[in-house]
Amino acid sequence: MSQFSETEERTELRKAVRAFAQSWGQDYFTGKARAGEKTTDLWLALGKNGYLGVNIPEEYGGGGGGIGDVAAVCEELAAVGCPMLLMVVSPAICGSVISRFGTEEQKQRWLPGIADGTQTMAFAITEPDAGSNSHRITTTARRDGTDWILKGRKVYISGVDEASHVLVVARTEDHKTGSLKPCLFVVPTDAPGFEYQPIPMELVSPEQQFTVFIDDVRLPADALVGDEDAGLIQLFAGLNPERIMAASFATGIARLALEKATAYAKERSVFRDTPIGAHQAIAHPLAQAHIEIEMARLMTQKAAALQDAGDDMGAGEAANMAKYASAEAACNAVDRAVQTLGGNGVTQEYGVAALLVATRVMRIAPVSREMILNFVAMHSLGLPKSY
């Protein structure tokens, strides 16, 4: 490996997005979230500046960059307090899948809207009885003439209410008990038979989580993205970006927490005039958090580089590791930030406490810490499967 730093353009992109996002800020974001409102105006502004669809091919209205670029956007937004959860889903997962496996018509139809933010596409994979076991997905699609009839139930689906469409992971009817043969369908959120209910969450986020009921939703033949028989490859085209984005989302929040903590530790003094940051009991945990964040960012950048180089399998391992490391780094950073700020760390004013749940979620979603450890144990270390 000859280069450990990101390209000049990526660095410039980070700078531009950071400056842009600072003009919105954490108060805007949490204000919207607490008021039960959406951050649609920020979303559209991101689209207008070309930040949302940096990874979408230029001929479909995007920036022509890679997953590493859109991950950089995601991280910088989170780092100034505007984490955009739906960036993980709409441009990164759905945008990647359709860019790679969609037909020419599907690309023309979906990608420009995803790139400029005017059409948000949610992503639905998890199910009530399947959880982390995507082999047990029971949402099924059966043929009816040239149409598809889709039936099933999904849970913890982000931002369905803000989306015009949902990319639904289903399987074909013949393979109910066999190995996973995922098929991806674009489903309009206003289709007859498609319903969704919000799940009340203890999250300070403008984005809500939903249970989705898909009751014999009729879809035209071209709702199927990619090849019915392509299987896992197509799903990975979306899941690696998902993990890379989730990792960036987490390290961004972690940077925000650490920045708040260090700023506070430099100012706050209670014993004589020594700022509390001079005490190693405060300084060392923050230094550790910084190291963990930087390691997680490096692994995230590696995963993105592999993904953009077309190495799906290599990227799969790295993306899992990056997501694991980022979630751990983020949880630790926020926990230490709260400890540094003391009581202030739990107030709304200082904006740290809300990050506790936001980062804790990262240990669970989009794939749990335990499933990553299983993956690494089996695939990286060759240990026997336990489940």
């Binding site: 000049e8 353009e9 410039e12 992109l13 531009a16 997005v17 400056a19 842009f20 500046n49 070309g50 930040y51 940096v54 230029e58 920036g63 022509g64 960059g65 670029d69």
Partner: protein, 266 residues
Amino acid sequence: MNIVVCVKYVPDATADRQFESDNTVDRVGVDGLLSELDEYAVEQALQLREKREGEDIEITALCVGPEKAVDAIRKALQMGADKGVHVVDDAIAGSDSVATSLVLAKAREKIGAEKKVDLVMTGMASTDASMSVIPAMLAERLELPQVTFASVVESQGEVFRVRRDGDTATEIVEGRLPMVLSVTDQTGEARYPSFKGIMAAKKKPLETWALSDIGVEADQVGLSASWTAVEGTEARPPRTQGEIVTDEDGSGATALVDFLASKKFI
């Protein structure tokens, strides 16, 4: 239309700004960037082009400054300017506004020799020196009319009409091309570089000129040739703790009034 926008590379105002031992601004030890006030000029040039769709409008970002100052030009290119000209020469270091305006004017002449320049645009001031005199000096050197401190810019053909907001009155000033135009921070928020803008900027033409390229002698510029010099600098005194009035016996109000009166607030 051919527009030259003058852009200055200044120390980041949010960073810890310092001076060199000769009282010039430390432009190396501090992170620099395109002066925020010049971003408005770039923005207005870009908006002009967008409003006058169909016209052939070329925008050149011109910067005088050390090697790192190329960042200011790059930002302007990322925002949408077409090409950049960077005048960099060790002899320029320490130049005051009179000397800087000479370099800018000569560079503008060289640009104009290739293709007639219709409009020279600047911000209202720099965020480091804050002199606000460069537009007037440039106009004088280039023998052009100047329309300065524009808060609203409208144009039709060769006629530019701007609003100039003063403390007590608002003027509407009209000028005809070619001219020098400076705009204020009231003209509207400058855009952020888009991803495409960032990617495209790298491929845009960027020329680097030395003093010899624009016909300026080394002894015409720099600290020694400058008409003005900074004699000394002093850091802003640290904030002192305010006076705390403790009210134990009901005398608090009187003490407050006495304090305000002593500072001539009442």
